[in-house]
């Protein structure tokens, strides 16, 4: 399943059904992943580790320097 797009959402504006289905909290930042070829959505709650932990969950960063 290839990640094709990401949207930002708020848990508080999602339906209770979606929150229940994906085990989401009642409040906070949610990332909606669109994946294909099945064209499915996945909802991910951003917890304490923040965006960095979310990105690492997608794969490790490469050790490349990005200095000026």
């Amino acid at each position: 399943m290839t990640l094709k797009n990401i949207r930002l959402a708020r848990a508080e504006t999602l339906s209770p059904e979606i929150r229940q289905q994906f085990g989401l909290p009642e409040n906070g930042l949610i990332i909606i992943e669109s994946r294909n070829p099945d064209l499915k959505e996945n909802f991910v709650s951003i917890k304490k580790g923040g965006i960095r932990d979310y990105l690492i969950s997608l794969g490790d960063f490469k050790e490349v320097p990005i200095d000026e």
Partner: protein
């Protein structure tokens, strides 16, 4: 109406494999807060194009989808002779400020200029302090518009 521009050290902190410490955590949390604010209102996160090119070398395809979906990559200053990331951010911020209010998020406040009142240069620590207040008040539905609250906190405070 509000554009947040994270600078090199912010992006480095988010994607470095081996940087720890209070400063790095502050920069990562500041980026998190910027994304949080984006999810609440008319807030853009702009990554300057030369910086994005450097960043891209560290990223997997999925990471790239994240940055390309969540952030605006601005290539305006790419390819200009003698333009480094810092000069490019200054130019892009000035141009962006003609359309929107701009926050440059940086530890190196002296590297960046504020040619007009629509640009604010804010450290991660100050940004975190303000953004957390905004997020807390938003949770309590104290303010109608997140944009107004951001303006009140960072531009008219």
């Amino acid at each position: 109406m509000i554009t947040i521009i994270p600078t090199l050290e912010i992006i480095k902190a988010v994607t470095d494999t081996n940087i720890t410490g209070t400063g790095a955590n502050e920069r990562r949390e500041a980026f998190d807060c910027a994304v949080d604010l984006k999810s609440l209102g008319d807030v853009h996160i702009l990554i300057e194009g030369i910086l994005y090119d450097r960043l891209e070398k560290r990223l997997t395809e999925d990471h790239k989808i994240f940055f390309q979906s969540v952030c605006r990559i601005d290539n305006s200053a790419k390819g200009i002779v003698n333009y480094n990331i810092q000069k490019a951010i200054n130019w892009v911020a000035d141009s962006e400020s003609k359309a929107r209010k701009v926050i440059i998020l940086t530890n190196n406040t002296s590297f960046y200029s504020t040619p007009n009142e629509n640009i604010k240069i804010i450290t991660p620590a100050d940004f975190l302090y303000g953004a957390r207040r905004i997020l807390e008040f938003t949770k309590n539905k104290t303010f109608i518009s997140i944009e107004e609250f951001i303006l009140a906190t960072f531009f008219f405070g």
